[in-house]
Symmetry: C3
Subunit: 158 residues, 3 copies
């Protein structure tokens, strides 16, 4: 059995997503099994970039609007400065030819990294499966995470 790494992607921040995808791709490239569990704000990372999200109820609609997500729209955990920090970071990454979160997500998936969306968070936020990118492999709860993580060599909460 291959060694395993699990990542709980709780945060929806672009910088943390970059770090997580980088770790995931690195681990996959040395033959580790990698599972990424997207929960809470982390669900934003794997939301589609386009189209309105169909959630029921006015408050869910509001929450989902503010929280639209999609790998293109993620903010930074620091230096928001009305989006300037993000714009600068994007520019720097482009200058250094560092891949965007979207490109890293695709690469991670192609490297065999498994993407799991947390059904509990989806339930609270009223988000259905149609909101997510096609790279999501499965929809599951805490039991699935624990089954993977108890045999994981590296388990991180990001």
């Amino acid at each position: 059995m291959a060694e395993r790494m699990t990542l709980i992607m709780f945060s929806g921040d672009m910088d943390k997503a970059l770090a997580a995808f980088n770790l995931a791709i690195g681990a996959a490239s040395i033959g580790m099994e990698v599972s990424m569990f997207f929960t809470f704000w982390g669900l934003n990372v794997i939301k589609k970039n386009e189209g309105p999200i169909k959630s029921k109820g006015i408050m869910r609609k509001m929450l989902n609007f503010m929280n639209r997500g999609g790998a293109k729209r993620l903010g930074l955990s620091k230096f928001h400065m009305f989006g300037m920090g993000k714009w600068m970071m994007g520019k720097l990454m482009k200058d250094t030819r560092f891949p965007s979160p979207q490109e890293l997500m695709t690469t991670a998936h192609q490297s065999g990294v498994k993407f799991i969306a947390c059904t509990t968070s989806m339930g609270i936020m009223g988000i259905g499966k149609e909101a997510f990118v096609s790279e999501v492999d499965s929809y599951a709860g805490v039991a699935t995470y624990l089954a993977d993580a108890r045999d994981g060599r590296i388990n991180l909460f990001i």
Copy 2:
């Protein structure tokens, strides 16, 4: 010996506390030993909801007032918006019958999850044992954490 999970609860954010209690309850339900170490802002999660905190010195009093804690008062790590984000999240959780942080804390404790308050943080912040809820099992420092975590199958920093 049962498999163990340890969680360092550094954050005092409601959303992260929900995630942590959910993980703890899930792990306990499959027979894992779970220790939760509350440190820094995480101490807010296990503070009593009522009553003034008796801390010595004007600055500690100020810090503890701003930082009152109690599972009822926790904010979100995102979307504060003058409390609106928290109110919306509370409403959504009620609508979906998702338990509150307080209910999850009680359930976790009843499932055998151990609650440990960090004595180093308590010292810096000038908080005594009387500030905490009765579910706290013990008061300890980093050595106790390491003793638990070195044999842990899953160790997370939240």
Copy 3:
């Protein structure tokens, strides 16, 4: 072979740095090997306190100015309040004779904790080796982290 702990120091917040150094020193004191990987905002923790940072390009200059770092300048993850939270925390730590981040960094290094700066983050942010304190042992990427962490008993993302 000694048991190992690895810490990814992603955050540049003073409070998280205190927690990380405390864990590192505790683990080293019971004979564990400890590696701290400083990445993204965490690079601020190991930047020199003085002198201009020589980065190329106006945007990198701006990012590095806003993000000057040095263990003396770290902010808190909560309660910024225009620096007041940090000032209060510093005062409380002084009152309780708790060591500063800088002192903890020195102690950690003297205890044998290894400091590794992430070359990928350095590349994006345009920071060279001359920006960092002399305690930094090496400069490496994700492969080095994974090699250490896959045999780690405790691996945390902070």
